[in-house]
Symmetry: C2
Subunit: 343 residues, 2 copies
DNA sequence: CTGTTAGCGCTTTCAA
DNA sequence: TTGAAAGCGCTAACAG
């Protein structure tokens, strides 16, 4: 029995050609310091023998793996998928592969993943912290070790030395709410997510500020911070919220596409007409805007572009002549409002 | 300036403790052959010195990376995401990480990815071929090299030595159509995807067989094979299909959730009542069933479980005492029909 | 129980 | 333009 597959390696080529391993290595590398004729002989022989370079050996020797580690809170959220697509696209162009891990919304998994990425498998790390993440020591440790890292989305604390990319959440919701106000709406409800997430806090802030800026009274009764993380398509919380309301809202600003959709379903069920009686705005614009009838106006975030930007920053760090005193960059991406039938 | 970070390695610990590298290695491995007191000293020192094992060196030396490479046609299809979640869950339990690449529905990218996975970075491969994939030589090459691989979903040709996992597409659509027939529907339309995809062919086959089995006449006019791959939320093809129809269908069996949704939107727009005038069934049940009003009856495929099963097979291959004459396993998973308001 | 040593396959000085 | 040789950090066989 043959021991596994004994792959052909540089040595085999070298021996067959009666030259040194070093020369073969150089030839395969298109190194100009090797005679053209030699290079050609090597290339031909390598192909003929079915040579495949060993990535691991290369990495050990060169100190580079060309892999970027990505940690996201979950796989099945359209936002993260879009960001990952953007990351992958940019990374691929620059000859990096990506290794995605989910922290499953758990701080412990996040830490575990980070530790595993510290083991030299990846050249750099992209991380979107979970809502549970309150301590940033695990991240700082990475930074201190000099491992390039870029954070995105839900970043609560600024970590010195770590770039981070986010969207202008507060401005986005400010504009969206202002848009409703300018349409003459006054009893504007707010539906956000768990308060632990910085993004929801920021979106809430934008809502409040817009209302205040236009002197619209704020009713506690019209504000809901959903506690569910999961993107369910039935949410009793939202249903209860509207059913038990003594004020009739004439608009609802929601903090995710899904909340927007659930809101529309609930309101229709309660007899409201959209957009005649009430306008609804979603947040994200990740494909759900056109599913429903009426179609839903959404704050659109540039998720794919975000992924690309993140990766650009990371690759910059990777190429940087190890300036340990790397100045942290915080990038905020702009959003836009995509108008549809729900407003 | 310090040259990058000089990570502490086994040698450093060994020197500090005046013992050999091998002992340190064993101690860290919890190898019982090392004295307890030594092990403890090593562990303590390792922690104190901030030792982190080098995964790459480990892999080169051991010949294992504990990484599974996954190639899917695209990132942003709920089906693939669910499968990947299943893969990840199972892999994680068995101490493997997964490296996902998208072939972007292109045969060339698929090949490129496969070649890159041949370079020893991954211990095994999971692949869902694109619709463009007609030649399987690139896959056979992997098999011949003895690299463990499992195929899933869109497999047209049986590759000797490669397990593959799929769902019972034909049976699934047979049952779904039969369900409609038993409800008294007779003018049952079919909406499928591009014919290049084996899954769509199989689903079509099930439709035809069910109709024949019940002696229902088949009208060419009621059959559409969509040419769009993309999951758009407006599809002129489907709209045209129903608008130009001379027969009024009383049911529509569609081959994806999205086609189902588009069908419902179109039919409602054309004045049909669902389910009174016409029943609609989607395929996949990947979260869209409950979005719309009315909710959509769907064929439900066990995507997450599929991912787990796939990985189970792969890990079996990985652990197998290199039986080159590995008998190919073809696993077909059962589906079910989830009844909702559209039927 | 511990140490010595020979790799794993490739890159990269330094010499020739 | 090419070769010899020293690693990269770890594992594992063998010896003691």
């Amino acid at each position: 029995m043959t021991l596994k597959k004994s792959r052909v390696k540089l040595e085999d080529i070298a021996r067959k050609l009666n030259i040194s391993i070093a020369t073969v290595s150089r030839a395969l590398d298109e190194n100009p310091r090797v005679k053209l004729s030699t290079r050609e002989r090597v290339l031909k022989t390598a192909t003929a023998m079915g040579y495949t370079p060993n990535q691991i050996a290369k990495s050990l020797s060169s100190g580079k793996t060309n892999i970027i580690g990505v940690i996201i809170p979950r796989y099945d959220e359209p936002f993260f998928i879009e960001v990952c697509r953007g990351i992958d696209r940019y990374a691929h162009k620059h000859n990096y592969k990506i290794l995605i891990s989910s922290s499953r919304n758990s701080f412990e998994f996040e830490r575990e993943n980070l530790i595993s990425f510290e083991r030299g498998l990846v050249d750099g790390i992209i991380l979107s912290p979970t809502h549970e993440t309150e301590m940033f020591t695990h991240i700082k440790k990475i930074v201190n070790k000099g491992i390039p890292i870029v954070l995105f989305d839900n970043v609560r604390e600024e970590v010195a030395g770590a770039d981070h990319v986010m969207i202008e959440d507060d401005k986005a919701s400010f504009s969206a709410v202002e848009f409703l106000i300018n349409k003459g709406r006054k009893k504007i409800a707010f539906i956000g997510g768990i308060k632990e997430k910085q993004v929801f806090q920021d979106r809430f802030k934008g809502y409040i500020e817009a209302m205040k800026a236009h002197n619209i009274p704020i009713h506690e009764e019209l504000i809901l911070h959903c506690s569910s993380l999961d993107r369910e398509f039935e949410d009793p919380e939202i249903h209860e919220f509207f059913r038990g309301m003594s004020i009739q809202p004439d608009a609802v600003f929601t903090c995710t596409d899904n909340y927007g959709l659930l809101t529309m379903k609930t309101l229709l069920k309660l007899g409201y007409k959209i957009p005649e009686d009430v306008s609804v705005i979603g947040f994200g614009d990740l494909g759900l805007g056109d599913v429903f009838v009426p179609s839903m106006t959404c704050v659109s975030q540039p998720s794919f572009e975000m992924g690309q930007k993140i990766t650009e920053l990371l690759i910059n760090q990777l190429n940087e002549p190890n300036t340990m005193k790397h100045r942290k960059k915080v990038i905020k991406l702009k959003t836009s409002l995509v108008l549809r039938d729900s407003t």
